[in-house]
């Protein structure tokens, strides 16, 4: 098993280097570079100024040197300097990751818990109103563009009924500290988290329902029932434990894709997370930041895959036996 884990780690590392090479190459062959973006932003510059700045960012070097330097730096934990902010990319990511985590984790937890509950209940009573409701929620959540859901919620809960702030993470005009600050952030969190959770909920209710049905139909549950174990015990002790596996796996994978998942919602709500930073970096041609976020995202996926695997082994003894 140790050998297997080691293998997996090595594979993950190779995968990440490949991701770095691909990203770097793609962005390199594209027209335009960060200096042009800065020059534009500055309001123009002379050719000498431009040449000087290119040299400063090493953009005058041959491709192989550039990518070599970059890979070397990444290995030492240095993702380079943002060409827009003139600050280290690792610092920028560290500053923004909290907001994204807060949003995604909240949405994921809400969806996971609510989704599992709905899914399990509707699996137990297949012909009930609740069951049909779950089907409808799942279908609707699958079919609606997440950013549109966000806008509709803004229209409903910020504009028509002005209960919630329209966007941002804090009322930055007020200087709040302590509990007031926490409450303020939570207040801002409701809408974006709700939006994201709506979409996630569709997945989880459907998945846990299907999974639960499969487990309930399996032999060992029948056996358990046959043994005369109480219904609740069968459902919650035996069935749920197994039915939750695919749900956990899926949550892990989805969490790995958190930045991608959050881009649209963060954009709609101007949530200051990594998704908006990534989008802005594309628009500003801030290559080091963009590369850094792409790399970081891939790393998240890899790490989450490894973790999911571990959790899987813990929850399901059958896998361990293999």
């Amino acid at each position: 098993m140790l050998q297997g884990t080691l293998n997996r780690l090595v594979n993950a590392a190779i995968l990440l280097v490949a991701v770095l090479v691909l990203n770097f190459t793609l962005i390199h062959i594209a027209p335009g570079d960060p200096v042009e973006a800065i020059v534009g932003e500055m309001g123009g510059a002379t050719p000498e100024m431009i040449a000087q700045m290119r040299a400063q960012y090493g953009l005058d070097q041959p491709f192989i040197v550039q990518i070599g330097t970059y890979l070397g730096n990444v290995l030492t934990g240095d993702l380079g300097m943002s060409t827009y902010y003139s600050r280290p990319v690792t610092g920028l990511i560290a500053e923004r990751i909290g907001a994204t985590l807060l949003l995604v984790v909240t949405a994921l937890l809400v969806a996971l818990i609510l989704g599992t509950v709905l899914g399990v209940f509707s699996a137990r009573k297949r012909r009930s109103v609740l069951s049909h409701l779950v089907t409808v929620i799942a279908l609707a959540g699958f079919s609606a563009p997440v950013f549109w859901v966000g806008i509709m919620l803004i229209l409903l809960l910020s504009v028509s009924i002005p209960l919630l702030p329209i966007s941002g993470m804090t009322s930055s005009s007020a200087d709040l500290t302590g509990i007031a600050h926490v409450l303020d952030v939570l207040h801002h969190l409701v809408l974006p988290a709700l939006t994201l959770a709506t979409i996630y909920l569709a997945f989880y209710s459907r998945l846990s329902r299907a999974s639960m049905l499969e487990v309930l139909g399996s032999d060992y549950i029948r056996t358990a029932r046959a043994k005369g174990l109480p219904q609740r015990m069968v459902i919650y002790k035996h069935a749920l434990r197994n039915a939750i596996l695919p749900v956990v796996t899926f949550a892990g994978l989805q969490f790995g894709q958190l930045i991608s998942g959050a881009v649209l919602v963060e954009t709609v709500f101007a949530w200051p997370g990594l998704g908006t930073l990534a989008f802005e970096s594309i628009l500003r041609r801030d290559t080091p930041t963009l590369l850094g976020i792409l790399f970081f995202s891939s790393m998240m996926v890899v790490v989450m895959n490894l973790l999911t695997d571990v959790v899987y082994r813990l929850v399901d003894p059958r896998i361990q036996a293999r």
Partner: protein
């Protein structure tokens, strides 16, 4: 019950915690809340534009200020004398002025700043290219020498374009354009100092207690949260969460909403000196745009009044030529092209561009930059729809990012582009660059369209060194007339630049630089 907005949640929260904050609030001379759309640097010496300029003009002082009727007022220089031959200016600095770190501001810093701006600011050469020498006979005196008279020189010395920056910080040999101290631990010379700079969240400025003008500034704090989303801005303004927003970035259609809001004022004042104009830039090197008759036909086909009145809600003027209607040298006496599609079609027929077998006269790609979509996208969409009516196929190409667009235009590798630029108070800075034969460069916002008319050059050169205002006025009238005859650029509606503020904000600078002037007399509340 929901007709009137409920009390915002944050108000309730802040009320609950007001007790803890009251002690500090009592001594407050007022906090002004605005917003920013983000900036890459706080140092206006290396960056033009409002995003850096608005806070930059508060953080850094300049030698002079520009007053209401474009008169020059003392600032860090308490007096100056222009030599009779107009080839040198001697400045005397105010006594006891210091940077935010306590170091004195000396003539050496002024010299350093002038040279830094000349070398690093995009307009550095245009503004200070004729400076031959800068003398610093003593710490309070600066003498600037020129090779030729520079009539607009003093206008360039206000903080927006010529901030006084500390030599002991920036003179360490590091590249100024990307100097770390442009963003971190910024040491300025102006009325406000930086206390918090988190580009992802907000910028907080605080009164500089050692400012060289006694009793100023009046405000205690200025807070600029980062708000990019126009919708959010609009709601914040409407609710009164923002005290003051220059370059508010709202849509013309938002104006009526704001006018209905209680205690909120909207104004387009304060943008005259900046003079933000938009235009259609045609690459004059290639057919069909090298053909003046084609350009004239396009000018007849594009109804800029329609754009201004319908698309921009009548809140902005249709530009008539290179100068903004608020510029002191502006004239309306130029060549006007009445909107007339039939005439445009006829002109194209006569110019040798009849409708071909494919149903088109010709086709071209119109680039749409990414930096002013609220203006350029509607304009481009309109031009595309309008020219389709006279059988010209326009393909829009939206630049994915800023750099891509800059590269295309600066390399002259384009057919046509939507574009825009600032006039600045003196046309030498913002206007000459587009029409001077010598400025046909691979640099963005130079004469990228490749326009060259010796007659124009003669006029521009004369205007650049003419020190008599009346004669200069006449020269610029001729320049504007000639530009519209040649259609070097086809001017669109001017930018919808507005300031939105709450009516308890008093003492806003009512100068041509408005939003980008230091807030010395501004107060909030009582």
């Amino acid at each position: 019950m929901f007709a009137k907005p409920a009390i915002p949640f944050n108000r309730i929260v802040s009320a609950a915690f007001a007790a803890t904050m009251a002690t500090s609030a009592l001594a407050d001379g007022g906090t002004l809340t605005g917003y920013t759309s983000g900036y890459r640097t706080l140092n206006p010496a290396v960056q033009s534009g409002a995003a850096t300029g608005a806070p930059g003009s508060q953080i850094f002082a300049g030698l002079v200020l520009v007053g209401k009727d474009y008169e020059i007022q003392p600032y860090l220089a308490d007096s100056w004398t222009v030599a009779d031959d107009a080839l040198s200016v001697t400045f005397n600095l105010v006594d006891g002025a210091t940077f935010h770190d306590g170091e004195p501001i000396t003539s050496e810093d002024v010299k350093f700043s002038l040279e830094a701006v000349k070398a690093n600011h995009p307009f550095g050469k245009a503004m200070f290219g004729k400076i031959t020498e800068i003398d610093t006979p003593d710490p309070d005196t600066v003498v600037v020498h020129f090779s030729e008279p520079v009539p607009g020189f003093l206008y360039s010395l206000q903080p927006l374009l010529m901030p006084i920056i500390p030599e002991h910080i920036y003179g360490d040999g590091q590249e100024l354009k990307t100097h770390p101290r442009n963003m971190e631990n910024v040491v300025g010379s102006g009325p406000f100092r930086v206390v918090e700079n988190n580009p992802a969240e907000r910028l907080v400025l605080e009164k500089n207690p050692d400012f060289f003008i006694e009793g100023k500034p009046k405000l205690d704090r200025m807070v600029y949260p980062l708000v990019k989303d126009p919708l959010t801005r609009m709601l914040m303004l409407e609710k009164g969460d923002v005290d003051y927003a220059a370059f508010a970035g709202i849509r013309p259609t938002d104006w009526p909403r704001l006018e209905r809001a209680d205690g909120v004022e909207v104004t387009t004042d304060g943008y005259d000196a900046i003079g933000y104009v938009h235009y259609l830039e045609l690459n004059l090197r290639e057919k069909p745009f090298s053909d003046l008759a084609v350009r004239k036909a396009l000018a007849h086909a594009i109804d800029t009044d329609f754009l201004a009145k319908v698309i921009f809600g009548g809140k902005t003027a249709a530009g008539t030529g290179p100068l903004h209607t608020g510029n002191p040298f502006y004239t309306a006496d130029v060549e006007i092209y009445e909107p007339d599609l039939d005439l445009a079609a006829k002109m194209l027929d006569e110019a040798g561009y009849p409708v071909g077998a494919d149903g088109k006269r010709f086709s071209f790609v119109l680039d749409v930059p990414s930096w002013a979509p609220q203006a350029h996208v509607p304009m481009a969409e309109y031009i595309q729809a309008q020219l389709a009516k006279i059988d010209i196929a326009v393909e829009l190409r939206r630049a994915p990012d800023f750099g891509t667009w800059v590269k295309r235009i600066a390399a002259w590798d384009y057919d046509a582009t939507m574009n825009g630029s600032f006039n600045y108070p003196d046309p030498i800075i913002g206007v000459h660059r587009h029409f001077d034969c010598d400025n046909i460069q691979n640099v963005i916002w130079s004469n990228t369209q490749g326009y060259c008319n010796p007659e124009m050059d003669k006029l521009l050169d004369a205007a650049a060194i003419e020190t008599d205002p009346a004669k200069r006025m006449e020269l610029y009238a001729q320049i504007q007339k000639l530009e519209t005859e040649d259609l070097a650029l086809i001017y669109m509606p001017q930018d919808f630049s507005v300031t939105v503020y709450r009516d308890d904000v008093k003492g806003l600078p009512d100068t041509p630089f408005g939003a980008l002037a230091p807030f010395l007399d501004v107060t909030v509340g009582e």
